[in-house]
Symmetry: C2
Subunit: 666 residues, 2 copies
C-alpha cells in the first residue's frame, strides 16, 4: 500500500516507474515543525534503515545525512554525503513499520537522531513527492517500494565473475601482464577494467593508439581467454577543436550551457571540458549512441565515472582564485589572510555555487544544474542503457556507475566509489549492501582491497572473502599505491581458493540475484528483516542475510583470529578452505566465538535451504552448471535456479528450473 | 637484562636515564639485510607491541610505521606517523619475549609484517643505539625498559579530575559559562583549558587584556570553585618588534637559525614566527623561565602544543609557491600543470625540506633540524619542567604535550593530539593506552568526544565512559564544530552519573597511577600481558587490564545495545548506573554478550582484588578519601592506596597506606 503526497510542483526525477495519483488530504506519521522539517518521534527500540549509499551503520540512527552527490574520496565518519542520492528510509519499531521516499531532484536532509536522539527530521530543499509505503514487515515494505520504482537492472551472467582493475594500467602490455598473472597463478578472471589511461588525452570514446594500437584485436584475444575488457566513460567531454564529439555537441547545443547560452567549461581529467546535457532527451540519445564506438571494438560493458558530475574547477572561479593568490606575493601576510588564500584553493572543486552557473534543457524547461545535480549520473547511465536497448534489445550489457539516484537501478548497477584500503571500509562495504538493495540497486560492490592508499595482504584476503558474495566483485586500486592484484601477494594459494569459492557460488549468486531482481526482494538483508521479532538481531551490524537462507559474517579486523557471530536460530556452519575442501557443522542458536584464520571462509545456511556449488573454472562461461555439489541444511526439497549463459534478456523467461535437492549429509 | 649496541655515532636523544656500556660484539635476534634493515622472522602466533602513539592495533602486525612527529589531524588508517616518536617494541611469541629500543634522534621505520606478513623489518635513517631488553614476560621486559628510561612524570592529584576544553572560548565570559554550566548541572569539573585565543595575537606568555582583563583574578576565582585554568603554550614565538620575548630571544641568539645565522622564520598561528632552540641548554632555560609569567597569574598547569614543531609554511617556500601560482594566470592550463600548482600549495606545510634549512646549537654541535626533528616537543616540555623544578622543587605542576619522544615521559604527559569525533577514534584511544604506557607515558588521554568534526550525544556518552578510566580526562573540541560540553546535551543525568563514577574512582586511579609510575608498571595492559598463556587473550583488541585487577571493555560502536566480552578467568562484573547505584555479579571465564545501555558503565574485577570508591564530589580537592565504599572480588585482604592532596612531590614518600579491605559481599 503506497500513498503519494505532493508538495509544490516537483521536478520529475524519473525515480518512479508507475504513476500513482496524489492523495488529496495529508495524513502521514510525520509532523511538520517550524523549520519545515518532517519530524517523527523515535522510541529507543526503533531502527531506521535505508539511504542506500551512505556512511555509518545499517541502522542509520545517531547521525545526519544529506543527499548531495559528491566526489570526495576521503570517506570518514564526518561525511554526510557520498556519490549517490537515495532518499528512501524504512522506520521499523514500536509502532510497526513503514517506508518513506522523498522523491526530490534537489537535496534532502535527514537528521536521524543526531540533533535530538529521540527524533527523526527530514527536510527537502525543493518541491517533492512523498511516498509513504506500508506493509506488514520491512521486507514487504521494500517489495512494495520496489514495485513503485520498477525492476532492477540485470547484468550478463559473466559479470558475476571476478574483475581486476587499476588506475595505472598504461597500455596493452599491462593488461596482458594482469591476464597472464592470473592465468599463471591458476586464478579465475572474467574482466579487466580500463581506467582513464586507455583514452586519447582522456577524450570520451577515443582510444590511445600508442598505448592500445588495436583494441579490437586485444578485446577479441582476451575474450578468447574468457576475459572481457570493461572501459571507463567519464562525464566530461574535452574541449578540443577537431575532436568530433566536442564539435558535434557544440553544434547541436547538446552540452550544458551557462546563462549566456555558451557551453559551460569546467576542468576535469581532460583539462577544459563540457558536460553532455543528459537531461535533454535528444542530447541523451546522442551521447548514448557514442558508446557504439566502443561496442564496435568488441566491448560489452562499461563503468560510468566522474558523473556526480565531478568538477575540479570552473574556468571562471579558477581565474578569480589565481588572482587572489597572486595578490599575496611579496607581502607579510597576517595568518587570517594566509588561511583565506588556502581556503580559496579549497573552494575550487565541486563548488555548489558553480552548479548554479550552468543549465539543462529538459522537457520541463530550462533548469539550473544546482536543482537537478543529483540526477546527472543517473541520466548519463540511462543514456547508455537506452542506447543498448535500441541497438541490441535482447542483449545484456554490463553497466554500472559511480554517481546515482533512485531510478538508475533500472539501467545499471553501482560501485560504491573511491573507498580506501582501510579495514573500516571493508565493514562499510558490508553495511551498505542492504541499504542499496532497498533502493533497487542489486548489482553492487565496493573496490575490494580499497581504491586509495596501500593495502596489506591480510586486508585484501579478508576483503576478498566478503567480496565473493557481492554481485559486482572487483579489485581496484589507484595510482601510486601498492600493486593490488591477487597474484602479487605471498599466499597465492588462499587467493586461488577464495576466487575458486566465488566461482563455485556463481550459479547460486546469479540465481539469487535474478530472483531478487524479478521479485522485488533484497539479496542482502539486515538480520532484523528475516528475524523481526529477535531483539538481538536488530543490533547486529556486521552480519547479513544473503539470498535465500544464507548468512555471512566476515572478519573485518586486522590480526583477528576470528570473530563473534550471533545466530538467531540453529544454522549450519560451512567452513571452507576451498570450494571442494569444507566442513558442515550444525550450530545452535545464540552467540559463538569462531576462529576464522585467513585461509578460511565461514558462512551459515538456515535449515530448509540448499546451496549448489559448481566446480570452479577459469571464467564464468566455463562453469558447468549441470555438475553441482550440494550443501543441504535440514530438509530442503528443491532449489529454484536460473540456468543458461545469461547473455540475453529473453533467456530469463525460460531459465528458471526447480532442481531436486539431495538429502542432507549427517 | 639490557644490552646496548651502538651503531655509528648517534646524537644523544636524552631518552635514556642511565648510561650503560655498549656491547663489544653484536648479538641480537635481528639479521641485517641488504637494505640495511634489521629483520626478524615472525611466527603466526607472534605479537608485536609498542610504538606508543601510533595508528592500528594493540598488536602492531600487518602495517608499517615511521617515527616522524607530524601535525596532521586527519587520522585515518593510511597514516604511518602521528605526533610522537616512540621507538620501542616488544616481540612476544613462539621464541619467548624481548624488547628492542631504537634510540635515534631521526626517523625509524618499522615494517611489521606489511611488506612480508612473516617478517619484521626495522631501519633507522641515522646513527643510533639499540637496546635489547630481556625478561621472562612482557611485563618484566617493560619494567626493565622503564628502569632504563627513568621514572615517569606524576602530575598533581587534581589533574585526575575532569577537564573541559574547546578551541573557541573567546573570553572570560565563555569560561564562566562553562564553569556555571557544569555547576548548574551538578557535574564535577577540575580544569578549564585555555586554547590559543587567551593570548594577545597568539604571542606566547601574553594575555589578551580585552578578552581576559584580569586573568589572575579569574584564576583565583575559579580556584575557589575548585577549577584550575590550564593555558596552552605554542612552540612558535611571534616575530614582532617590541614583543619582549621575541626581541630578547633574537638578541641572545636563542631561536633556531638558518644557514646564514639569521632566525628562521615560519608561519604558524601568530603569522611569521621563530622557534626557541630548546636543544640549546641556555635557550631552553631561558624559554622555560618564561612560564613564570603565567605562574605569577596563579596558573598551575600547561599544555604544550604545535611543538612537532608544526609549520604552516616557511617564508622562503611560500614566496616560491605564490610565484608559481601567479604564473598560471590567464593561461589555458593542461591538467598536469593545474595539479602541479595545487600540489605546490600542499607542500607548504610541514615540509621536510624546510627542516633541513634551520639549525640547533646543541652541546653536540650545530645540527640541522631535520636530524633532530622528533626531539623538539620533548625538549620544549623539558624546558618547562626544568624551570618548575628550579622554581618550586617540591610542587607538582600539570604539564603535558602534543609532540613527544621517549624521555619526555619524565617531564610531562601527553594527549594524543587532534583526533576527531569518530567512533573509530574512541577505539583508537583505547588501543594506544598500553603502548604509551610501555614507553613510560602514564599521564595520557585523548580528546574525549573528538576534537575535529561534530560529535553526537551517544558518541560523547560512550567515549566519556572510557575516559573515566584514563588519567588525563579532557573533553576538547575545535572551532566550528558542535558545542561539546556535557551539560549541553539531553541526557544530563547520565553525564552526571558518568562523571560521578570518575570522581568516585579518583582515589583508586591516582593510587594505581602512582604505583605504576614508581614501580615501572603499565597502568593499562593488553590482556595478553596479564594472561600470557591464554591464546584468545592475545587477540583481544578492545579490552584492557587497568591497574591492579581491573578490566575494561567499553562500547565503541554506534547504536550497539551491548558488546561481547572475553573473560580469561572468572571475574566480578560491576554494572554501574552511578557511583552509588550498581550491581556486582560473578561472571564465568569465557565469552559473554552483555547488554550495556548508554546509561550504564560495565567493568570487571579479578578475584583477590578490591576497588575503593569515594563519594563523588564537585572537584578532586573536595573528595573525602577517608570515607570509602569497597567493591571486593574474592578474597582481598588489603589495598595499597596513595593518600593526600597530591600537590607536592615529597608527599609521595609517606603517602602509601595499606588499607584493610572488608569481606566480599555475597
Amino acid at each position: 500500500m503506497i500513498r503519494k503526497y505532493r508538495y509544490g510542483n516537483p521536478f520529475p526525477t524519473g525515480a518512479v516507474a508507475c504513476e500513482i495519483a496524489a492523495e488529496k488530504k495529508e495524513q502521514t506519521a510525520f509532523r511538520l515543525n517550524a523549520e519545515g522539517e518532517f519530524t517523527l518521534a523515535l522510541a529507543p527500540e526503533d531502527c531506521v534503515y535505508g539511504l542506500g549509499e551512505a556512511v555509518r551503520g545499517i541502522n542509520k540512527r545517531g547521525w545526519h545525512y544529506e543527499s548531495c552527490n559528491e566526489d570526495d574520496p576521503i570517506i570518514t565518519e564526518k561525511r554526510i554525503a557520498l556519490y549517490g542520492a537515495h532518499n528512501f528510509i524504512v522506520v521499523a519499531g514500536k509502532k510497526g513499520v513503514f517506508g518513506a521516499f522523498f522523491d526530490c531532484a534537489d537535496r534532502v536532509l535527514f537528521d536521524i537522531g543526531y540533533t535530538d536522539p529521540d527524533e527523526l527530521r527530514v527536510k527537502a530543499v525543493a518541491d517533492f513527492d512523498l511516498y509513504i509505503v506500508e506493509g506488514k514487515s520491512a521486507v514487504e515494505v521494500v517489495r512494495e517500494f520496489r514495485k513503485l520504482i520498477g525492476d532492477s537492472y540485470i547484468p550478463p551472467k559473466w559479470a558475476f565473475g571476478f574483475g581486476q582493475s587499476r588506475w595505472g594500467y598504461r597500455c596493452e602490455a599491462d593488461i596482458r601482464e594482469v591476464a597472464d598473472g592470473y592465468a599463471e597463478s591458476d586464478m579465475p578472471l572474467d574482466m579487466i577494467y580500463l581506467d582513464i589511461d586507455y583514452m586519447d588525452h582522456y577524450k570520451d570514446f577515443t582510444v590511445n593508439k600508442e598505448r592500445y594500437p588495436d583494441l579490437k584485436a586485444l578485446a577479441a584475444d582476451m575474450k578468447k581467454r574468457g576475459i572481457r575488457l570493461i572501459p571507463i566513460i567519464d562525464a566530461g567531454v574535452k574541449v578540443e577543436k577537431g575532436y568530433d564529439i566536442y564539435e558535434e555537441g557544440v553544434e547541436k547545443g547538446y552540452f550544458c550551457k551557462d546563462a549566456e547560452g555558451e557551453p559551460y567549461v569546467v576542468g576535469v581529467w581532460p583539462g577544459d571540458s563540457v558536460f553532455p546535457d543528459v537531461l535533454n532527451p535528444e542530447a541523451r540519445k546522442w551521447f548514448g549512441s557514442k558508446y557504439r564506438i566502443l561496442l564496435d571494438e568488441g566491448i560489452e560493458g562499461f563503468w560510468n565515472d566522474m558523473n556526480e558530475p565531478s568538477i575540479f574547477y570552473s574556468k571562471k572561479r579558477l581565474a578569480g582564485v589565481l588572482e587572489k593568490v597572486a595578490s599575496a606575493r611579496g607581502r607579510n601576510m597576517p595568518l587570517e589572510e594566509y588561511h583565506g588564500i588556502l581556503g580559496a584553493i579549497g573552494t575550487l572543486a565541486n563548488n555548489r555555487a558553480d552548479y548554479a552557473e550552468f543549465f539543462h534543457d529538459t522537457p520541463n524547461g530550462t533548469v539550473s544544474h544546482l536543482s537537478v545535480h543529483n540526477l546527472f549520473g543517473c541520466y548519463m547511465t540511462r543514456a547508455a542503457a537506452e542506447y543498448f536497448e535500441e541497438y541490441q534489445p535482447d542483449k545484456r550489457y554490463l553497466l554500472f556507475s559511480r554517481s546515482s539516484h533512485i531510478g538508475m537501478h533500472r539501467y545499471g548497477g553501482i560501485w560504491t566509489g573511491d573507498n580506501a584500503s582501510w579495514w573500516t571500509h571493508l565493514l562499510l562495504n558490508l553495511k551498505m549492501l542492504p541499504s542499496l538493495n532497498m533502493c533497487g540497486f542489486l548489482y553492487v560492490g565496493a573496490d575490494i582491497g580499497g581504491f586509495g592508499d596501500n593495502t596489506s595482504e591480510d586486508l585484501l584476503l579478508r576483503w576478498t572473502a566478503l567480496g565473493i558474495f557481492t554481485p559486482l566483485m572487483r579489485n581496484h586500486s589507484t595510482l601510486d599505491t601498492r600493486m593490488q592484484e591477487c597474484f602479487r601477494f605471498k599466499d597465492k594459494k588462499t587467493f586461488r581458493n577464495l576466487l575458486g569459492i566465488r566461482y563455485a557460488l556463481v550459479p547460486w549468486l546469479y540465481s539469487e540475484f535474478v530472483k531478487s531482481a524479478t521479485r522485488g526482494d533484497m539479496m542482502f538483508r539486515p538480520l532484523a528483516f528475516d528475524f523481526p521479532n529477535d531483539r538481538r538481531a536488530r543490533t547486529v551490524e556486521d552480519q547479513l542475510m544473503v539470498g535465500e537462507g544464507l548468512m555471512i559474517a566476515p572478519v573485518y579486523e586486522q590480526n583477528a583470529a576470528g570473530r563473534y557471530v550471533y545466530l538467531p536460530e540453529e544454522m549450519k556452519m560451512i567452513r571452507m578452505r576451498s570450494a571442494t575442501d569444507y566442513e558442515e557443522t550444525m550450530l545452535s542458536a545464540g552467540d559463538h566465538y569462531l576462529e576464522i584464520p585467513l585461509t578460511e571462509t565461514v558462512f551459515f545456511l538456515r535449515k530448509g535451504h540448499a546451496l549448489p556449488l559448481a566446480e570452479p573454472a577459469k571464467c564464468v562461461d566455463a562453469l558447468d552448471e549441470t555438475k553441482l555439489r550440494w550443501i543441504v541444511s535440514g530438509n530442503a526439497a528443491e532449489y529454484e535456479m536460473y540456468v543458461g549463459n545469461g547473455e540475453s534478456k529473453s533467456e530469463l523467461k525460460t531459465a528458471l528450473r526447480k532442481l531436486k535437492v539431495p538429502q542432507e549429509k549427517k
